[in-house]
């Protein structure tokens, strides 16, 4: 029972990282119908930027803010620079362009920062909480990760629900042509969507890097698991993305705890294939409609 609690709480904080990546994918997917394969690489890059700021100023929070800000900028630049021109091309072209971005950013990180593994400081202590002699399986850092992602997701939900910008974002995702006719400047809205996604990716990068180290490929696996979380949630729904991340994080932590950490990656693969085969539209889909 104690083990179970430990694995569950540990899984929750891990799952929140997947949820953040999943959220960024969902934001972009809803707006542009593009799956951004470079999301993980972008997160890796902004985390490097944060690391440099932290090393210079010895201030974690300054690095954190810079990471989020550079995520915003990077997302916007990518949308304007290379995604917008693929709009009138077959969907495959956009897929290949984001794959190109993935490898370009990883290559640039290798050129600028070198290939060595760097440690990234956690915001809070990584020593686990205890009640008496019972380990809870979650540390202050894990708690901070969970709260940070939940707050960001809640903030996003509020913006979507209650602000004019949020209404424009939803309208554009729902039907860009009609939104445009009604006076929404959809181009700007799409750029904003990518920028927000970049910020969420950056958040995930900063939160996950203390446990994974930082190197040019460090987010490959995180991205794949974030993608899995997004697919579990159905790629359409931000709430689904958060739940997908939670489910996946807890599930993988059970696998790691009860069966051995070697089996985590295969379990992730099995989870993705299982969801894709059984419920390609995600766990929460009622029926699948294919766009013609």
């Amino acid at each position: 029972m104690q083990e179970f609690l430990e694995f569950t709480l540990g899984g929750v904080s891990q799952g929140m990282v997947y949820a953040a990546i999943a959220l960024s994918l969902v934001l972009i997917w809803r707006g542009t119908r593009v799956l951004n394969y470079s999301q993980g690489a972008m997160a890796m890059f902004t985390t490097y930027v944060a690391l440099i700021v932290i090393n210079h100023t010895h201030n974690y929070w300054l690095g954190f803010v810079v990471a989020i800000a550079s995520g915003l900028v990077l997302g916007a630049v990518v949308e304007r620079g290379v995604i917008r021109p693929t709009t009138r091309r077959p969907p495959l072209n956009a897929v290949i362009v984001t794959i190109g971005l993935l490898i370009l950013i990883e290559g640039l990180a290798g050129i600028i920062y070198g290939g060595s593994f760097r440690s990234f400081p956690p915001g809070y202590s990584v020593r686990g909480f205890n009640i008496g002699h019972v380990a809870l399986g979650i540390s202050p850092e894990g708690l901070y990760t969970t709260i940070a992602v939940l707050l960001a997701a809640a903030g996003l939900a509020l913006v979507f629900r209650y602000t004019a910008v949020g209404l424009r974002l939803r309208a554009t995702a729902f039907n860009p042509d009609v939104a445009r006719l009604l006076g929404v400047r959809t181009g700007r809205v799409l750029t904003l969507g990518w920028a927000l996604a970049g910020a969420f990716g950056a958040l995930a990068g900063v939160l996950v890097s203390p446990t994974t180290f930082l190197y040019p490929n460090s987010t490959d696996l995180i991205f794949v698991l974030g993608f899995t979380a997004a697919v579990i949630g159905g790629l359409e729904s931000p709430l689904g993305a958060v739940i997908g991340g939670l489910v996946l994080g807890v599930l993988l932590n059970y696998v790691s705890g009860y069966l051995g950490s070697d089996l985590v990656d295969p379990a992730g693969l099995v989870a993705l294939v299982a969801v894709l085969m059984l419920r390609p539209g995600g766990l929460f889909s009622m029926s699948t409609v294919r766009r013609v």
């Binding site: 693929t86 794959i99 290798g110 050129i111």
Partner: protein, 363 residues
Amino acid sequence: MTLLKNLAVTVLVGIVLLILSYRIGSFHDYELAEVAAYVTAVGGLTMLVGISGQISIGHGAFMFIGAYVAALLLQHLRWPIYLLIIAAAAACAVAGGIVGLAAARLRGPYLAGATLMLAVALPEIAGRYQGVFGGDQGLDINVTVPSALGANFQLTQWLAWVTCLAALITLFLLANLVNSRVGRSWRAVRDDEIAASLSGLNVARLQILAFVVSAACAGVGGALLAIVLANVSPGTFTLTLSIALLTAAVLGGLGSLAGALWGTLLFVFLPGYLTNVAQSHGLNSSASSSVPIAAYGVVLIVVMLVFPAGIQGAVRRLLGIAAPAAGAPLTVLRRQAAALDPKEKSTTTLVGTAPPEKGKGTR
């Protein structure tokens, strides 16, 4: 006629390569063998993406499977080379069938994600199992020159022969398949799934078949690469390899086997050149080894945005040949242009006109 033409080209190229292998010396023989190994995999991939319209960023994983199957069979059962290659192809065909089964139900982004997962997870798994797969060190795979060729025959030349022969046979079969009824059906499915299925084609079965064939090609490529490198280790089959294969296919021109060759040549020779240039400009070795990786990215983006038909598309235009149906992005582009412009409806391919993509046409 196409069959005869393909056969003639294959035999001709084979003879040229045979003569070449005597002339160019041991080091270039090795490079020749490397090109032959990669072009097999790139050929399979360009067919998958360009002709059948499905994407895979996991072909490095299929090469991985082929390489390990070959290495394990040689190590434990001492099978002859041709059986190793066939076994690798068969194993990858099965693996491709499984992925294809998933693929047939998945649209673009899901499919690419699933294959990406394969590329990331498989080498990771092999690295963990020391006993069977040799962990990060991998497995050694040593082939010897048959004694009939004499004691002084260079191993690299023998490797060049084996790999080139296998590559030629694979590409010959692939070229015929692409021009056959199956190839035409693939194109129909690629251009418009719904029209294709209304015309009586079994879309799912065709898509799975494309994955099976493509994975088998990658398996042959993997086995050949294992023989050439004399070692298979997880470090060879990274996500970067999978993306590099895609880069080669895109750069050459998706759907074109000749393009696959151009792309592969650049992919084999350009990274070394770029690394050297970077080093001579004062970058350290770790940084300069990343230069080719960044270059793959630039190539993928620029080709897709500026000339989606790739090198082979440019060659065709230079020679004044109208792009045949194999120039995948071109036909799709034309179809979209036709759909957007009512005056050009006559150029629309297949049954009916595709409506402009909802939500993507205008902004």
